[in-house]
């Protein structure tokens, strides 16, 4: 799905000149008795429920990782991880999924020493059973990925399941992400990493909680110089001139411990829950051997910007304009004499509608923009870089913008890393204003990006330098209903909705793939209301708002009780549910776009009826211009008019502000449930 060439290619790294051996036993603190493998402490077996979350079906007693960097003769640096986990099962019925384990191996990763044990309390004593090799299965998922699968035997209420294994990987540029928090409580989780002084890693700690402990130890180790490289390795290992066979190297050991971590539960309006999960990530910043130059990897956004712009699968693609010569000859009559904004529109529309996106999200090209243009099909980077090239050739200031899609987690500014960025779109600057667009998505528009792009911020990359920009969208919806009621309570009218901005992307995509389905969905949403003459206007013309028009008739919306008619002034489009029902929200509210909803409903009254009761007007405001709501019903000679305006001005609200949103919507639901009362004139 992502770039076809592995990141190992991007960073040129030369194998070090020395052999390094680690004395495993000497590193680290004394182990606690209950974190030694294979021994289930009786207290653990007797425990009846979690003290962190008493209702939990299971909890991690132990979730530890010890990472070491070691040098393998002739092979190079390796990351070695010893992973040790223990889970206590309180309810076998509800937690048995935890007893089925899968872990993945990528590329040339290998694993060893896998031990899998179930501990049970039998007659007051601990009884353990270990599974054998034949119960461990390997599944080759694809060329690049392999899964190891196993399950625990004899799991009962109260069982403690435990497993431990060693993972070896060539990837030392990133030590991966280690999670301290899961959807069940975690009693004790530690991450320990021993780093030789040649390596300089940058670490990122995220989540709501702070670690219980952070221990840093300094030590040293012995390195042995090898005499030869392996036959596979063209890089020779140089022995020091003084004839010594070994040297000492300083090491730094960092240990992070979390204790008694609460379970993390999913919530609505959260782009990616992993952004809030207690976890740590290490990425290689630089590497320096004595007597050699330092190699820098990713350390600042500025240096990342430079790396990306120098990459032949990103920045250097922008040098390739020759193949566009014929295209521009054809386009010239259309572009000649037009303003910059018009040219941007013409070229954006051209690429958006003529190039097919193969659904691959990437910041790097696959086959290159020239081939993509020839085939009329490409990944997201190819399509956007192609557009940027065209825009530049037309004399506009266009640049790539790299970002992290929502599923990839939010960018953490304090810890610059190339791996955080996984997508590329187009940024154009005209007269000091910035215009963002994703030419890969057919129905996106200028400054209306697809949802997965609305992930806080991204970076515009210039030939020299970069700039951070906000990624958010606007969503505007205007509904106008003209209707009338007859004396029997039958409602009829016309509905027109105008959508601008973000909301149109999904609807237009849906209209293209299955218009009938969208009509069904709308009908179901307002069930019982007969609709006719469905019409969608500007289905593909993204420059104009998307219009949805239809006629309706409804018998159920109006209550006739005795001589009175009870009508909801917003008919069937009022807010009947509070989207923020939960109190005490911990997470911010991530919507992605600011929202504006303007409704206008006019209702012609039936003959022989007057207005007995009209709901009061109301205006509600959130502090700091976060949002507002206005609702008013007015009476004319023969008709009633209702106006309703809702604005949520921010695409993202903090957890503290979420309480205000909840209250606002509670009031809105109450207000919009009120009815107009019409009574018959005697």
């Amino acid at each position: 799905m992502t770039s076809s060439t592995s990141y190992l290619k991007r960073i040129k790294f030369y194998a070090p000149l020395i052999l390094l051996f680690f004395c495993f036993t000497s590193v680290g603190n004394a182990q606690k008795s209950n974190s030694k493998f294979g021994e289930a402490v009786l207290d653990e077996l007797k425990k009846k429920n979690s003290s962190i979350g008493p209702e939990a079906d299971a909890e991690y007693l132990l979730n530890n990782c010890w990472t070491k960097l070691s040098y393998e003769p002739g092979l190079g640096w390796r990351r070695r991880m010893i992973i040790h986990k223990k889970i206590k099962i309180y309810s076998k019925e509800d937690a048995s999924a935890w007893a089925n384990v899968i872990f993945s191996l990528y590329g040339k990763d290998t694993y060893s020493s896998l031990k899998v044990v179930t501990h049970n309390l039998v007659d007051g004593k601990s009884v353990s059973e270990q599974i054998s090799k034949k119960d461990i299965f390997r599944e080759k998922v694809t060329e690049e990925k392999e899964n190891v699968r196993f399950t625990f035997p004899n799991v009962k209420d109260g069982s403690v399941i435990e497993w431990k294994y060693e993972l070896m990987s060539e990837n030392i540029f990133s030590l991966g992400t280690w999670y301290f928090q899961y959807s069940i409580p975690v009693v004790h989780s530690s991450y320990k990493v021993s780093i030789p002084s040649y390596f300089n890693y940058q670490s990122r700690l995220i989540g709501f909680d702070k670690p219980s402990d952070k221990i840093v130890d300094y030590g040293s180790d012995v390195i042995y110089f090898g005499t030869t490289g392996s036959s596979n390795n063209t890089r020779t290992i140089k022995k020091p001139k003084d004839g010594s066979t070994r040297s000492s190297i300083d090491t730094k050991t960092i240990k992070i411990i979390y204790k008694d971590v609460e379970a993390l539960k999913r919530e609505q309006f959260v782009f990616n829950i992993n952004n809030y999960r207690n976890s740590i990530r290490f990425e290689l910043e630089s590497y320096k051997e004595p007597n050699k130059d330092q190699q820098d990897f990713t350390s600042t956004w500025a240096s990342i910007a430079v790396i990306l712009m120098k990459d032949k699968e990103l920045g250097l693609q922008l040098r390739r304009k020759a193949f566009l010569k014929d295209f521009f000859l054809e386009m010239n009559p259309e572009l000649k004499g037009k303003s910059d904004k018009d040219k941007m529109r013409i070229l954006f529309d051209y690429v958006r509608t003529n190039m097919k996106w193969n659904n691959n999200r990437s910041k790097y090209v696959d086959e290159g923009i020239k081939k993509a243009f020839e085939d009329r099909i490409g990944n997201s980077a190819e399509i956007n870089l192609l557009l940027i090239n065209m825009l530049r050739k037309a004399g506009l200031e266009a640049n790539p913008l790299v970002l992290s899609t929502t599923d990839n987690g939010a960018i953490i500014n304090e810890c610059p890393s190339i791996l955080q960025l996984n997508y590329l779109i187009t940024a154009v600057e005209i007269d000091g204003k910035t215009y963002l667009m994703d030419a890969a998505h057919k129905y996106s528009n200028i400054n209306a990006l697809p949802f997965y792009c609305l992930n806080y911020t991204g970076f515009v990359l210039y030939e020299k330098g970069f700039k951070e920009v906000d990624l958010s969208s606007k969503s505007v919806e205007r509904i106008k209903i003209i209707s009338k009621v007859d004396a029997d309570g039958l409602l009829s009218g016309s509905f027109q909705k105008m959508e601008f901005g973000h909301a149109t992307i999904e609807d237009r995509s849906q209209l293209e793939s299955d218009e009938d389905e969208l009509v069904e969905v709308i009908k179901e949403m307002h069930e019982g209301i007969v609709k006719d003459s469905f019409e969608f206007v500007n289905k593909t013309n993204v420059k104009q708002p998307l219009l949805t028009n239809y006629l309706f008739e409804d018998e159920t919306n109006i209550q006739k009780i005795g001589d009175r008619l009870f009508i909801n002034p917003l008919l069937y489009i009022g807010q009947d549910e509070n989207p923020f029902k939960k109190e005490g929200r911990k997470f911010p509210v991530e919507i992605g776009s600011s929202i504006q909803e303007n409704y206008n409903v006019s209702l012609e009254l039936p003959e022989g009826y007057t207005v007995e009761y009209l709901p009061q007007a109301i205006k509600l405001e959130l502090p700091d211009n976060l949002g507002s709501y206005y609702f008013a019903v007015s009476e004319g000679d023969t008709s009633i008019n209702a106006i309703r305006k809702l604005s949520l001005n921010r695409p993202i609200y903090s957890a503290a502000e979420a309480a205000g949103l909840r209250e606002l919507f509670l009031r809105i639901v109450e207000v919009e449930a009120e009815k107009i009362i019409l009574s018959k004139v005697e």
Partner: protein
């Protein structure tokens, strides 16, 4: 739109210009492309048997892809395992003018494991190619062929495999030595005018000129009314084992001999556990309950598909030792345990799922996708679902109920119909009292009883945590400002009855407008399931998958100073598919009685009745919205 009857296309598969006979330009203006995602120009599945132990299967397909939704019809997907060898696989792409644009060979295909996520391990892989050009329409022509010694399972011929698919021509050709015979099941072939030709060494089926079928809400699944042929050699080979299926008796015997025999030995501690557990118990039903609960408590379900093509259950001793197994293993294990308790039970094969699918009794073969256990008593039968560690013993609603299954008796196999949960069994009662307060809030004291199919639908509430329970009720009735006071659940497994006792308060339930107060007496309203669209034109019969049998009865207390102005009218509606009653009447002591019943019969109904059904539902929805009006002094 003009109807253009498209003439039969004669296609030769060796012709490299195949795509050109697939006349895209003409087809695009014909009825074949209306509401179609793809048009199959021609498709042939050919089975070549050399003998019972060897068959080569070749598939060739030429299809025009019209839009994004149709792309999957051009994907080449071949599942395989260690007994199935893929001999060739290729694909060619053409543009609408018939010009070849891309050629894919076997090495361009992707190869990956095809294990289900919840499975521990399966010996299953898939070879596939799912690419394709950007512009529509385009033509894909693919071909693959594989050889296998497993002849028991042959691909089902299902030419109309989905909605919105036109099929100009689809053929199934089977070539075999003259002494081979086949068991077959042919469905709906006449409805689609499928032609059949049979000689001593060839059997072929051909479907032509099929227009795209549009999906309708409430229609039966396409698989039940589309043309279909299933085949299996009477004398077959499976994973190196030969067999002969001439009758269901044969199938049962084969299962017993090849899959079950010798798999039921239990270790001594299992035997003594059961003997102790059932000591002194004389009632067989009680024994079954005790043994079933023993197994549920001890074991977990995990899918493992190894051994004799995935059909052989794990040894009962292993299940006992490991405390896990898949459906086959758990059924076999439970059977072994019941044997120790002297209660006979029988391994049963079924198609599991919410919509009942029968084991096709006209097709003598190994069918089904799940195993359960039959325990016959003198006057009735109990069916045990062994993979669900929360299910009540004998409860199979919504999964394996009301369908034909194959039970393996020592004498051989027999087709039997499982328990049917009728609307009478599937009861839901909501009873209680409500108090309206001066301030407009409503206090509710309710008891909800769910039985039969309804029992299975709410039983899981028992495993919810406190905050999840809160969330559940708030979302269920969509009442604004709900505060849950107390919640109490009780699960009666013997009677399959689940009871919820609820005390809650709804703030601002009544609506005050001046001195008038509006109150909707049907408070705990559930109507999401009654979605009906306005397209009442049906081409096919409609199917109500779920029945209904609900009764709501509440006594509502009105505060002092609230004078009743208007009362909703009583209503009664009755049709062949159901009955609805609604009434709200005053009682002495400033109280009201609210009563509502709805009975909806599950089943298949004539398409002409759909208008009436839609009207029925609309009337119910409208009536449920009725309000009371009070005048406040």
């Amino acid at each position: 739109m003009k109807t253009i009857l498209y003439p039969l296309i004669f296609i030769s598969f060796v012709n490299k210009n195949l795509a050109q006979s697939c006349n895209v330009i003409e087809l695009l203006v014909s009825d074949y492309s209306v509401h179609a995602d793809a048009i199959v120009c021609s498709e042939t599945t050919e089975l070549q048997f050399s003998n019972r132990n060897n068959v080569v299967i070749t598939k060739r397909k030429s299809v025009i892809i019209l839009n994004d939704a149709g792309r999957r019809h051009g994907h080449t997907v071949v599942f395989y395992d260690k007994n199935k060898k893929i001999k060739k696989a290729s694909a060619r792409f053409y543009n609408k003018f018939g010009k070849e644009t891309k050629k894919i060979t076997k090495k361009d295909f992707k190869d990956q494991s095809a294990i289900n996520d919840f499975s521990l391990y399966e010996d299953s892989r898939v070879l596939y190619y799912d690419g394709g050009p950007a512009d529509y329409p385009y033509i894909v022509e693919y071909e693959y062929s594989y050889e296998t010694s497993n002849t028991l399972y042959l691909p089902t011929w299902n030419p109309i495999s989905s909605y919105n698919l036109s099929v100009l021509e689809s053929n199934l050709i089977i070539n075999f030595p003259a002494d081979m015979t086949f068991n077959k099941s042919e469905s709906n072939l006449e409805d689609f005018e499928v032609s059949i030709s049979e000689t001593i060494d060839q059997l072929s089926y051909s479907l032509t000129a099929a227009m795209p079928i549009k999906e309708e809400r409430y229609s039966m699944p396409l698989s039940s009314f589309g043309p279909r042929v299933k085949l299996s050699p009477t004398n077959f080979s499976h994973e190196g084992i030969n067999g002969e299926f001439k009758s269901w008796k044969d199938v049962g015997e084969w299962i017993e001999e090849e899959l079950l025999i010798g798999q039921d030995q239990l270790p001594a501690d299992a035997i003594s556990d059961i003997k102790l557990l059932t000591k002194g118990v004389t009632d067989d039903r009680e024994k079954v309950r005790l043994v079933y609960e023993y197994m549920q408590k001890k074991c977990r379900y995990i899918s493992v598909q190894i051994g004799i093509g995935g059909w052989k259950p794990m040894h009962a001793a292993d299940v006992h030792r490991l405390s896990y197994g898949d459906c086959k293993a758990l059924v076999n294990y439970t059977k072994a345990l019941l044997n120790v308790a002297d209660v006979p039970s029988y391994y049963t094969i079924v198609y599991a799922g919410s919509v009942p699918v029968d084991i096709d009794s006209s097709f003598t073969s190994l069918q089904g996708n799940h195993a359960i256990l039959q325990v016959p008593f003198e006057k009735d039968t109990m069916w045990l679902e062994c993979t669900n560690d929360k299910a009540a013993p004998g409860y199979i609603s919504g999964f394996t109920d009301d369908r034909d299954v194959l039970v393996v008796y020592p004498e051989g196999g027999t087709i039997i119909h499982t328990k049917k949960y009728t609307e009478v069994d599937n009861r839901k009662r909501v009873d209680g009292t409500m108090q309206i307060s001066e301030d407009g809030s409503l206090a509710i004291d309710a008891i909800i009883e769910s039985k039969g199919a309804q029992y299975g639908a709410v039983k899981w509430l028992n495993s919810l945590k406190e905050d999840e329970i809160d969330k559940y009720y708030k979302n269920l009735w969509n009442l604004p400002g709900v505060e849950i006071g107390s919640v109490n659940f009780s699960d009666n497994r013997t009677d399959e009855l689940f009871t919820e006792k609820l005390k809650m308060k709804v703030r601002a339930y009544v609506q005050k407008m001046g001195n008038l107060v509006m109150f909707r007496p049907y408070v705990l309203r559930l109507d999401e399931d009654f979605n009906t669209t306005t397209s009442l034109e049906k081409k096919y019969d409609f199917f109500l998958e779920e029945g209904r049998n609900t009764m709501d009865e509440f006594i509502i207390e009105i505060p002092e100073g609230f004078e009743l102005e208007d009362l909703p009218k009583a209503l009664e509606l009755e049709h062949n598919f159901g009955k609805y009653t609604y009434s709200c009447s005053p009682l002495e002591g400033n109280r009201l009685q609210f009563r509502r019943t709805l009975f909806l019969k599950k089943g298949r109904y004539d398409k002409a009745d759909y208008y009436t059904y839609a009207d029925f539902i609309k009337s119910i929805n409208k009536n449920d919205e009725q309000y009371l009006l009070f005048k406040k002094n």
